[in-house]
């Protein structure tokens, strides 16, 4: 009886099953870290604001996330009668799924990572571009003034920051000579981490990366004091929850991407001096990711929200020229050093 099963389990099939299992494990880890990011944010904000934060359910309040999840599933799934129904439901779907799909491109360790195509970075730009539709459609389909205004503001802001997001990463591409994220990490294993040679690119990318996730100080689309909740004013229950979780998945994704592009991915620091450090690649990836995720929270705790017109002119007048010049200087340097 076992023979036909054994015949089916050729190395190719086993490899495919193992690859599929890895993909599922990565996705579950991503969702879990995004969920616990909410807990971490509430605890850290509380710490910095001299209060406790959620500490009742489970040890250190770790059960809070599960309790909240159960609660939100039992909330009324309300689709208001005045909305454009299909688009209204589609928007949170886009918000969450695209951020998760983008994470597939991130190389985690030498052997782990869902997908490393040669056009990896271009694919990321495409996904980040499509993510604009979540806020745009969410705001438009709500048929509500706050939502429409918030959606428009958010769209204008996101596309303004997307223009130079790509250009800011081109310095990395020029030096590594590839769009493949895995090869970019491998290049950094041999050379300096890109945060040093591409420091200006890194700074501009940080701004663009925070803007992609719509986090403070770029959370003007949902500026609660003037726009109610912006594009998701009319959303409630799990549909709002998906926008919310999508934001945290976005934080994990952008942190992972920053790690891979500028901080050597799984590469250990000082690995040429202490080769033993290289034995735990996942740990290094996780530590770096965690630091960036925490700095997202620190940003929220430390910075006030800028004025909308300031932010827009900052994007166009400072970040875009800076990233263009950075790209040109990098290319000149690479050619000069190569000759």
């Amino acid at each position: 009886m076992l023979e036909p099963i054994q015949a089916l389990l050729t190395p190719a099939v086993l490899g495919a099953i193992w690859a599929a299992a890895k993909a599922v494990i990565i996705l579950l880890t991503l969702v879990l870290s995004a969920a616990y990011m909410i807990w971490l944010e509430r605890r850290l904000l509380a710490l910095w604001q001299d209060r406790y934060g959620p500490n009742r359910i489970g040890p250190f309040g770790l059960g809070q996330v599960i309790a909240d999840m159960i609660k939100i599933f039992f909330k009324e799934d309300w689709t208001p009668p005045f909305v454009d129904k299909f688009t209204f439901i589609l928007a949170p779907f886009i918000a969450m799924s695209l951020m998760m799909l983008a994470f597939a491109l991130i190389p985690i360790t030498p052997n782990w990572g869902v997908f490393a195509p040669d056009i990896g970075m271009l694919l990321f730009f495409a996904i980040a571009g499509l993510a604009v539709y979540a806020v745009m459609l969410g705001g438009w389909s709500s048929n509500s003034k706050y939502a429409l205004l918030g959606g428009l503001r958010s769209t204008a802001q996101t596309i303004s920051y997307e223009v130079f997001m790509g250009v800011s990463l081109m310095g990395v591409v020029i030096q590594a000579g590839t769009f493949n994220l895995r090869e970019i990490v491998l290049y950094q294993e041999q050379h300096l981490w890109f945060v040093l040679p591409q420091f200006f690119g890194f700074l501009v990318w940080c701004l663009a990366g925070v803007a992609v996730t719509h986090r403070t100080p770029f959370d003007l689309p949902e500026a609660e004091s003037e726009l109610a909740a912006g594009y998701h004013t009319e959303y409630s229950g799990m549909k709002f929850g998906m926008f919310f979780v999508g934001e945290y998945v976005g934080i994990v994704m952008v942190s992972g991407l920053t790690t891979a592009l500028f901080f050597g991915g799984w590469d250990a620091p000082f690995s040429s001096v202490f080769p033993a450090l290289k034995t735990v690649p996942f740990l290094w990836f996780a530590i770096k990711c965690f630091l960036f995720m925490s700095s997202f929270i620190l940003l929220r705790a430390a910075l006030p929200r800028p004025r909308y017109d300031h932010m827009m002119s900052f994007a166009w007048k400072i970040c875009l020229p800076l990233s263009l010049v950075n790209m040109l200087v990098t290319a000149g340097f690479v050619l000069w050093a190569g000759n």
């Binding site: 495919a16 099953i17 193992w18 690859a19 599929a20 890895k22 993909a23 599922v24 990565i26 939100i72 599933f73 039992f74 909330k75 009324e76 799934d77 309300w78 009668p81 005045f82 779907f93 799924s97 998760m100 597939a104 869902v114 997908f115 271009l122 709500s142 509500s144 003034k145 706050y146 205004l149 428009l152 204008a156 596309i159 303004s160 997307e162 223009v163 790509g166 250009v167 081109m170 000579g177 769009f179 009319e234 229950g237 799990m238 549909k239 929850g241 998906m242 017109d309 827009m312 002119s313 166009w316 007048k317 263009l324 010049v325 790209m327 040109l328 290319a331 690479v334 050619l335 190569g338």
Partner: protein, 142 residues
Amino acid sequence: MTTSPEFWSIAVYIVAVLGLCTVMLGLSALLGGRSGARARNEPFESGVVSASPENLRLSAKFYLVAVFFVIFDVEALFLYAWAVSVRESGWVGFVEAAVFIFILLASLVYLARIGALDWAPASRKKRQALQVHPKNQGGASV
């Protein structure tokens, strides 16, 4: 059919992502309660009764930003193609890209000079500049 492990890994990943999102939407539709109230089927406007459902006039600035995005992002695409082949295209390619980038920067400066990137209209800016805010004077005037 492709049978490389990577194909299976990305295929399963995409299916799992779409499935997870669908389950999240579907579960809450199944589990959630239902309720009704008199004024709940109106768009939220901070409790004020909506004056008009339509006629939300939006600043043309938003469309301007969209057009700039199209222009600059499409031009950035040409730069992506150059970025990945800098070593191959050498100094000739560098000079060409430099000319291209300088044209981009010049158009950006032009846009900034004609005020296309300023969010507030010029008239309001002038008014704001002329206005003396009492708070800024330390309460001395008024």
